[in-house]
């Protein structure tokens, strides 16, 4: 396993000429090759990575300041559009797709000197919790090859856990960054909705999609977020960020009010996970935090709400994949309608089709009020409950997932079982709150994640609190 200093240390070393960007890129590319058996990566972007590294090395030789991530290699989930290679979203539909523009998040990281070396595997179109829905292959959990890495950002999480890169990018629509972080023992961050631009990211559910970093430490996670955060003219749902940087310090937890979400400790929570999370909460307590239980009665409905709103938006966002302008186009079709039908029939996997069907159904006239409209009403209620809880508490905590990584094939036969994996992560997507998964020990040698949820737009304090916890735990 390749070893990496902190991101800011890597950048200083590159800037100071102690190591070249090219050396770091090569180190990363070699590590990716050596860990091929885990199938974390769909494609390598070696050529552009090498030329960018050389460019950076020349700039440094010329005495230029390159940036806060000078020469730092990273991997992007393959639903980020990049100006190199293909952007597939792990789908047959986009298998041939070469993006003509690049995601804002990638542009911002590149502007600070970071170098994208590969595109990570995911559940096709980010539909799933295990990467088993990838149209190409399933990523293996670095802690146990028989198990899934979680999803949908499973490739990104595995890559960071394997140490092939010091950080990776994921997207979190219902838990897709936090869940795989929890399953692979890394840090995964879901920012407040609107903090990071979604421009150039293949849309899944527009109203809950967020871009989030995965790294080994909260400190590194915060730096990546600090660079990506802020208003983008290409995404009108983004907001102006606060000026102070993220993750510079850890928060003094003494006197901070922390609410333990009661609804997350009911039936279905595995004992090993419970033990680890309770131990983590004890740690917060002994650091002087005022820990008490809090009930958010509508939170258990979040999953049901999610599986109405998400497929509705998915069915709409996937409408553009009709085989006419880009992506997969079915051969030998007789007319336009057949071309539409067969391109979509052959280009989409089972899960995409399932979500298109469900979404189309809940948006149909006659069903809209009973499903979509009602789901939006409950969504508002969940938001209100979070807002009310944050009048009293600084942070809310609970497990990231009810179980550690499960075996490949264990849940993939039953979509409902798979959907239940997200039961503890979806609420923050429905409400828009920021949330983080931080490693909190292991259960039977499998990592467990502690989830900390912050107040909306209070990302800086949430990261500082998570950093404080990580320092306590190490």
């Amino acid at each position: 396993m390749a070893d990496w200093p902190t991101l800011s240390d890597i950048a200083s070393q590159v800037q100071d000429g102690k190591v070249t960007a090219r050396e770091l890129v090569e180190k990363s590319l070699v590590a990716i090759e050596e860990n091929k058996e885990f199938d974390a990566v769909i494609s390598m972007t070696s050529e552009r990575a090498r030329s960018r590294a050389d460019e950076i090395d020349v700039r440094i030789k010329n005495g230029e300041q390159v940036g806060r991530l000078a020469g730092v290699p990273f991997i992007a989930k393959d639903n980020f559009l990049t100006l190199t290679g293909k952007t597939t979203a792990a789908s047959n539909m986009l298998k041939p797709f070469e993006a003509p523009y690049q995601a804002t998040a990638i542009n911002k990281l590149e502007a600070e000197g970071a170098i994208c070396v590969a595109k990570a595997n995911l559940d096709a179109f980010a539909h799933g919790s295990s990467t088993e829905n990838s149209d190409f292959f399933t990523t293996k959990n670095p802690h146990d090859k028989e198990r899934v890495p979680g999803g949908s950002s499973g490739g990104s999480a595995a890559a960071v856990a394997l140490g092939v890169v010091p950080f990776a990018l994921g997207t979190d629509t219902g838990g897709s960054v936090r869940l795989p972080a929890s399953f692979t023992g890394v840090v995964g961050y879901k920012p407040s909705y609107g903090l990071v631009s979604r421009s150039g990211v293949v849309a899944m559910a527009s109203s809950t999609d967020v871009v989030g970093p995965l790294a080994r430490s909260v400190e590194d996670t915060a730096l990546v977020l600090d660079i990506m955060a802020g208003r983008d003219d290409l995404d009108s749902t983004t907001f102006e960020r606060d000026k102070e940087p993220y993750g510079k310090d850890s928060l003094d937890l003494s006197g901070k009010k922390i609410g333990v979400i009661r609804e997350y400790f009911g039936e279905g929570l595995e004992a090993g996970v419970r033990q680890n999370i309770e131990a983590a909460i004890d740690m917060l307590n002994s650091a002087g935090a005022q820990v008490s239980e809090v009930s958010l009665p509508s939170v258990p409905l979040a999953l049901a709400v999610y599986y109405i709103i998400c497929p509705a938006e998915v069915s709409s966002n996937l409408a553009r994949y009709d085989g006419q302008r880009f992506g997969y186009n079915a051969p030998d079709t007789k007319n336009l309608d057949e071309s539409y039908e067969l391109s979509r029939e052959q280009g989409f996997g089972a899960e995409a089709k399932r979500r298109i069907m469900m979404g189309t159904y809940v948006l149909s006239s006659g069903y809209y009020d009973a499903y979509y409209k009602k789901a939006q009403t409950v969504r508002t209620k969940i938001r209100q409950e979070f807002d009310k809880a944050f009048e009293e508490f600084d942070f809310l905590v609970g497990p990231t997932a009810p179980m550690p990584a499960f075996k490949i094939g264990e849940r993939s036969k039953d979509p409902l079982q798979m959907y239940l994996t997200d039961i503890m992560t979806v609420a923050a997507n429905i409400s828009g709150n920021p949330a983080i998964s931080v490693p909190a020990g292991t259960s039977d040698n499998l990592p467990v994640g502690l989830q900390i949820i912050g107040n909306y737009k209070d990302d800086r304090r949430l990261l500082a609190a998570a950093r404080a916890y990580q320092e306590l735990a190490s």
């Binding site: 559009l81 952007t87 979203a89 986009l94 797709f97 993006a99 003509p100 523009y101 995601a103 979604r198 421009s199 150039g200 990211v201 293949v202 849309a203 527009s206 109203s207 003219d233 290409l234 995404d235 009108s236 749902t237 509705a312 938006e313 069915s315 709409s316 996937l318 409408a319 553009r320 009709d322 006419q324 302008r325 880009f326 336009l336 539409y340 189309t360 948006l363 149909s364 006239s365 809209y368 979509y372």
Partner: protein, 496 residues
């Protein structure tokens, strides 16, 4: 279709009109890409947003909101403080995202009215709503080819769809409504209103009934002239009455207008109830209008047609001339009304003089130039400046120029450099009137000597003969004598 007038009279036609108005923003509704597709080669005004690329997000063009706010006031309404966009789903090659972004549940304009005048009577037509939406692209079907082409230049162009109440009851009213809507959009600065290029497209819903209940309606789509609106409504009324008189039923359907044959034709078979699966567009936050923003737009609204009508009525311009001015203002980029407004700021009579000159002479000039240049825009036909109008008007007022010469002088202004000194020009062409009494008296004496019979007639009280003599004086002076002065002198010499 020979139906007796008495039978027709028994039916009451009911008409509602929907109009798609293309907004004159520089860029598209959700993309920073040029909006004027008229001259552009296919697929040159597109970006990743217009093509519906993965990861592309719509960003609302604020200029479109401003134009919609202006339109709200033009339609006698106030804009909604809160509005939002929805997605309307269907599959079609000219719709790259598989959905159109439109305002369904909460449009920016609710309610309003348009006053129309038909045969001297004013009627108020209600406006149900008006909403913003993006236009689709254009499918092109090359003759004989087994493929079609798609041009996405127009995809994403901002439209305001205005929906009227079914308050219209005759073809003439339908035409008047369409024209008034055109004037309102033109004067509010909402649209370029280039009908030829489809800047305004009308869909008319027509039904007839003998009772107070509406009959089954048909929709004739994509009409782009006032005459075709009138023609389509008239044809539909006749066609529907004829069918009903034969005991047949009206099919609710979409029809098209055949301009050459002046008839409507069925376009689609049975109307399928399409399910567009509307839901709020999550990528575009709701629009909330700030009161100051709205107030500022309202206070800076351009002069609307009704106000122009009042102003020109005050200048004693007849109503057909007023309507001609309203129709043709800004034609070839010429700001006729602005010139009249500039005149008004100086002197009311000057403004009246300018208005009459434009209607009586200038329109002929531009038409003539257009005719001679085989339809090309009369670029050379610039309008005299306010300074030129003032100078010429002063020459008339001071008796130095008669109105015929004034027209010729202004007419010739376009052959001069813009803003040329027309007084100097008139002098150089010897166009000024002779108001020197001595000089005119010499001419009068010569005319009286040449026409002794007429002079005698005047003396014996035949007033008509004075006119003849003055005419002779004008002729003798080659039109330059001040006719008023000439008459006075004739009378003085003949002692009447």
């Amino acid at each position: 279709m020979p139906i007796a007038e008495e039978i027709k009279k028994a039916y009451k036609p009911t008409i509602g009109i929907e109009c798609h108005v293309q907004l004159k923003t520089k860029t598209k509704l959700f993309a920073a890409v040029g909006n004027d597709a008229r001259q552009a080669p296919p697929n040159t005004l597109i970006s990743h947003i217009c093509v519906g690329m993965p990861g592309a997000l719509p960003v609302l063009n604020e200029a479109a909101i401003e134009l919609a706010v202006r339109a709200a006031f033009a339609l006698g309404s106030t804009p909604q403080k809160f509005s939002h966009f929805d997605r309307k789903h269907y599959f079609y090659p000219d719709l790259p995202k598989g959905y159109q972004i439109t305002q369904y549940a909460n449009p920016i304009i609710k309610g309003g009215h348009v006053d129309i005048n038909v045969d001297g009577e004013t009627r108020r037509i209600g406006i149900t709503r008006a909403h913003l939406e993006e236009d689709a692209g254009k499918n092109i079907h090359p003759a004989g080819a087994d493929y079609s082409l798609v041009d996405l230049n127009r995809a994403g162009t901002p439209l305001l769809e205005i929906v009227s109440e079914p308050d219209i009851h005759s073809p003439a009213e339908a035409k008047a409504f369409a024209r008034e809507l055109y004037l309102l959009m033109k004067y509010a600065g909402v649209s370029d209103v280039d009908l030829y290029h489809g800047n305004m497209r009308f869909d008319v819903n027509t039904s007839v009934s003998k009772t107070n209940e509406h009959g089954t309606r048909t929709e004739v789509k994509n009409l782009n002239s006032f005459r075709s609106v009138e023609g389509a409504v008239a044809y539909e009324i006749e066609r529907q009455i004829e069918l009903l008189e034969k005991g047949e039923k009206i099919t609710q359907e979409t029809r098209g207008w055949d301009e050459a044959k002046q008839k409507t034709v069925s376009q689609r078979g049975k109307e399928e109830a399409e399910d567009y699966r509307y839901f709020p567009e999550p990528d575009v936050p709701p629009t909330e209008l700030n009161d100051d923003y709205v107030k500022n737009i309202q206070e800076n609204l351009p002069i609307m047609p009704e106000t122009w009508r009042e102003k020109m009525h005050d200048l004693s311009i007849n109503s057909s001339s007023i309507e001609a001015l309203l129709d043709r203002d800004k034609e070839y980029g010429l700001d006729y009304l602005q010139r009249i407004e500039e005149g008004l700021a100086i002197d009311k009579d000057l403004a009246g003089f300018i208005a009459k000159y434009i209607v009586n002479d200038y329109f002929n000039l531009t038409d003539e130039i257009k005719r001679r240049t085989a339809g090309a825009q009369p670029a050379a036909a610039y309008l005299p400046t306010i300074k030129q109008f003032s100078e010429v008007y002063n020459l008339i007022k001071e008796g130095n120029l008669n109105s015929t010469s004034a027209s010729v002088l202004l007419f010739n202004s376009w052959t001069q450099t813009p803003g040329a000194d027309l007084v100097e020009y008139a002098k150089s062409k010897d166009m000024l009137q002779v108001s020197d009494e001595g000089e005119i008296e010499n001419i009068v004496r010569k005319v009286l000597a040449d026409n002794p019979k007429a002079a005698e007639d005047v003396k014996s009280g035949e007033a008509k003969a004075i006119g003849f003599l003055v005419g002779q004086v004008m002729k003798e002076s080659q039109g330059k004598a001040n006719p008023g002065l000439a008459q006075q002198i004739v009378k003085k010499i003949l002692g009447v």
